[in-house]
Symmetry: C2
Subunit: 332 residues, 2 copies
Amino acid sequence: MKKIAIDAMGGDYAPQSIVEGVNQALNDFSDVEVILYGDEAKIKQYLKATERVRIVHTDEKINSDDEPTKAIRKKKNASMVLAAKAVKTGEADAILSAGNTGALLAAGFFIVGRIKNIDRPGLMSTLPTTDGKGFDMLDLGANAENTAHHLHQYAILGSFYAENVRGVKQPRVGLLNNGTESSKGDSLRKEVYDLLVSDASLNFIGNVEARDLMDHVADVVVADGFTGNAVLKAMEGTAMGIMSQLKKSILDNGWKAKLGAVLLKDSLKSLKSSLNYSEVGGAVLFGVQAPVVKTHGASDAKAVYSTIRQIRTMLETDVVGKAVQEFSGEVK
Amino acid sequence: MKKIAIDAMGGDYAPQSIVEGVNQALNDFSDVEVILYGDEAKIKQYLKATERVRIVHTDEKINSDDEPTKAIRKKKNASMVLAAKAVKTGEADAILSAGNTGALLAAGFFIVGRIKNIDRPGLMSTLPTTDGKGFDMLDLGANAENTAHHLHQYAILGSFYAENVRGVKQPRVGLLNNGTESSKGDSLRKEVYDLLVSDASLNFIGNVEARDLMDHVADVVVADGFTGNAVLKAMEGTAMGIMSQLKKSILDNGWKAKLGAVLLKDSLKSLKSSLNYSEVGGAVLFGVQAPVVKTHGASDAKAVYSTIRQIRTMLETDVVGKAVQEFSGEVK
């Protein structure tokens, strides 16, 4: 049985979308058990599942504007903190939250705990490509500063994830850089390049540019947390900007454009869904001792469901256990 | 008279699109004079203008795959090198090229020369926003590594440009960071933040995130060259990816979608043009002693024309002269 501790109170549509996602997941996955942390009365309003689920009541919760590390320390009974503690004590195998990202990272770091020999767990997501296959990128911002050693570990972790969880054979690892030639980049990138090229366990394909990410130029893309965060947000911002621009230009161009938009409805829908991060699950804090997964704050039930499915696969393939094994013997 | 030295042989559609852009510019701007560097016979095929234009013939040119600094040194008679030398000697006031970006940066750096007290000129472009007004961002990749001092200078240069060339009063300067709070970022960003906040000559509005750039969150966005390059390429790649995805989903969704696309033609066109970098001109290597402007390799005549118009405004407002003045007394 796979036991998932879920922060029922995090996110814009909590607890409704969280609980509805849980209902569906428990219905589909008979090997999943859920512990919901949060306001019992509110959770019960939406909870339909009766088996393999229990509620641990708490009044306290972490807000989206709470200072992460402080919140984790002070709000000892917050739903997110209790869920993380359940993982720490072995009562649960993984944690899911749609709440304050910084606080979840801090909970992963300080409560769940790092894997031995991994200094800086990284935030990883599967991001969309135009061929629908996606790529994994990390660090997306768990850290503001990284060393070459961290980025080497991200390459290994990302490969583990792509191979085990997404079933990509020999995932192609690319280093995000300001050009594709091997000589490119700042001193950090040059150092990382040398480390990756000498690691025979990796299928390192060299430097990749942000321009080519959506073309599926690599299955795993390695970046420092600052750049990874900036690139992720640039992609999100541009996608949102273009969609709103398209909407605006439809409204500005009269009845013909409006009729066109009606006829194009299916195309626009499939475009939107291909860009939809919610279908591939949440962002994983990778490098801690259990799956710690953040689903988007605006997640609907479907996104929560997808994230539970993702966690289930992570537990089934024991991708975290394999990482523990891989790094256990590392001499630093 | 504003004299512009133009590399007629750089870019994918050279010399045709270059010369056609020149024809139109000379027709519209009676205060502009052009020197075209390149293959005289080929240039003459397209040149319609007869006044305020002359050709300096050369057989040599820099290719897109030439190693930049080496090419500048070895190909002494390349069209781009001759154009840069004309600026150096005062024969021309500015240079425009659609060729090898790295080589143009090297030519700007080593031939045109830096402004006194500016260590690291930055590459700057006006990028699109959904409200159509745009923002200036630098450094977009002239440097792989920058110090806080460089970024402070970029804030000043970017403000000068936005105010003088684009007519933005008291341009809002934002620091690209991984969060908006003042405490955010790596050590570089924290140092830059302190410098910008204490510079009363700037309208510094604090940290901005890549997600909000298209929403026109700032008029000038300051970044180190590595991050700026990654963000620019992420924006370009996402825009291209979405447009190709939209095309694909129209083709996949049958006659209704195709008819919808026909009706939406004007909307799609205006969307494309709002994302079109070519209408706002080229990328400026800012911090050298004259306007050195790179227009996109795939530039058509219209883009070349827009870039000439941009250079004309830069010369008219003497934005480079003002920067020389500003930094002349700086104690480092």
